[in-house]
Symmetry: C2
Subunit: 219 residues, 2 copies
């Protein structure tokens, strides 16, 4: 039991520190001292710092993908071949995203990590995530395709990433934004509040009119 204790204590500490400062800016010494664990424990249990970073992600993404697949299974059974409306798809994804970290730690940490995975160099991480969790994303986008048949494929691809940017950027920079909002509007904003505000914006963005075709290329 002692080694499990050490492993989880390292993971718990590491995910918070990574989320706060990024990967390169968080040293193993900072992690191990704050976790009250010997420095060598990380290399003993995980092998390397890279492997620790991946393990931190796996602890969030494994249960997420499992639940999300199950959710999509239920939806597909329920709609029985008919396309699932975009709002329903987004609603269920949001619910799954909210459920998973609630059991462990704050949603904020999860979102910060996702944002870092995109923006920090860490090439190994992008590869790892794509390799391990690409399938659930592919499945989701295929369902979105059936929900928005009027959109050209390329347009939908870009709009999905626009919306991904909206969500990840907002939730990962949440602390800073929340401070400003609280100061300017005296209003405390919870994550659930933010998701409530995000939904109509995302739906409207996906359903926006098509852009005018590039000039000087008209037939």
């Amino acid at each position: 039991m002692a080694q499990t204790d050490t492993v989880t204590r390292i993971l718990d500490t590491a995910e918070v520190l990574f989320a706060e400062r990024g990967f390169a800016e968080t040293s193993l010494r900072t992690i191990t001292s704050k976790a009250k664990v010997n420095l060598a424990a990380v290399n003993y249990h995980f092998g390397s710092k890279k492997a620790l970073i991946q393990a931190v992600f796996a602890r969030y993404l494994d249960p997420f993908t499992e639940r999300f697949h199950a959710t999509l299974d239920t939806l597909e059974r329920e709609y029985d071949g008919r396309p699932i409306p975009l709002e329903v798809l987004l609603e269920n994804m949001a619910r799954t995203v909210l459920e998973v970290p609630a059991e462990r730690n704050s949603l904020k940490v999860f979102m910060r990590l996702l944002g870092l995975a995109y923006t920090q160099a860490q090439g190994h991480l992008r590869g790892y995530i794509q390799q391990h969790y690409g399938s659930v994303f592919t499945r989701f986008t295929e369902l979105v395709r059936r929900a928005t048949p009027e959109l050209p494929d390329a347009e939908r691809f870009w709009r999905l990433h626009f919306m991904l940017g909206t969500v990840i950027f907002t939730l990962s920079g949440l602390d800073a934004l929340r401070d400003i909002a609280e100061k300017d509007y005296g209003e405390h904003v919870s994550v659930r509040d933010l998701i409530r505000r995000l939904r109509p914006v995302v739906v409207a963005g996906m359903n926006a009119p098509l852009p005018e075709p590039p000039r000087a290329v008209a037939v």
Copy 2:
């Protein structure tokens, strides 16, 4: 003239490397060796690595804020007190963003840097940017407020940041996304192309219907 040459050579090299790898992951030795400059030159001309980072941003943001203020002056004169439509505001901001880096380097670098400023730890940078360039942002948001009088202040605040996230996230992760898009749809995407696609999405997001009020708080 020799020292100017050294300074600009450092800045040119640093901005590219920062954009590629982030701040912490880019060492002064990497910068100076690639720029063919002595290691001590950075500390001599800029004082510290932090100051170099700020100088890299200033070289983009100074001309941007100047031009954007001028653009807003023209618009305000043209509309003479009447609110400037949201589309016009966005259109002009996009044009200014496109103009400035075109004279120096790629827009991609500029956008990557903006994204990093938000997501990398670097507390000093956020403070520096807010202090030096907050005024133009405040002016812009005030014009947006007049363009969208029906939006509650808090809602507009959040939607502006949603859209900021969309743009910065997309353009800063552009290389990776472009690779995927090119592979999947065989279609090469220029930055101008992307901005053309972004516009209707951003407008629709800002004009989305208001979210339903939080449950169980109804009067």
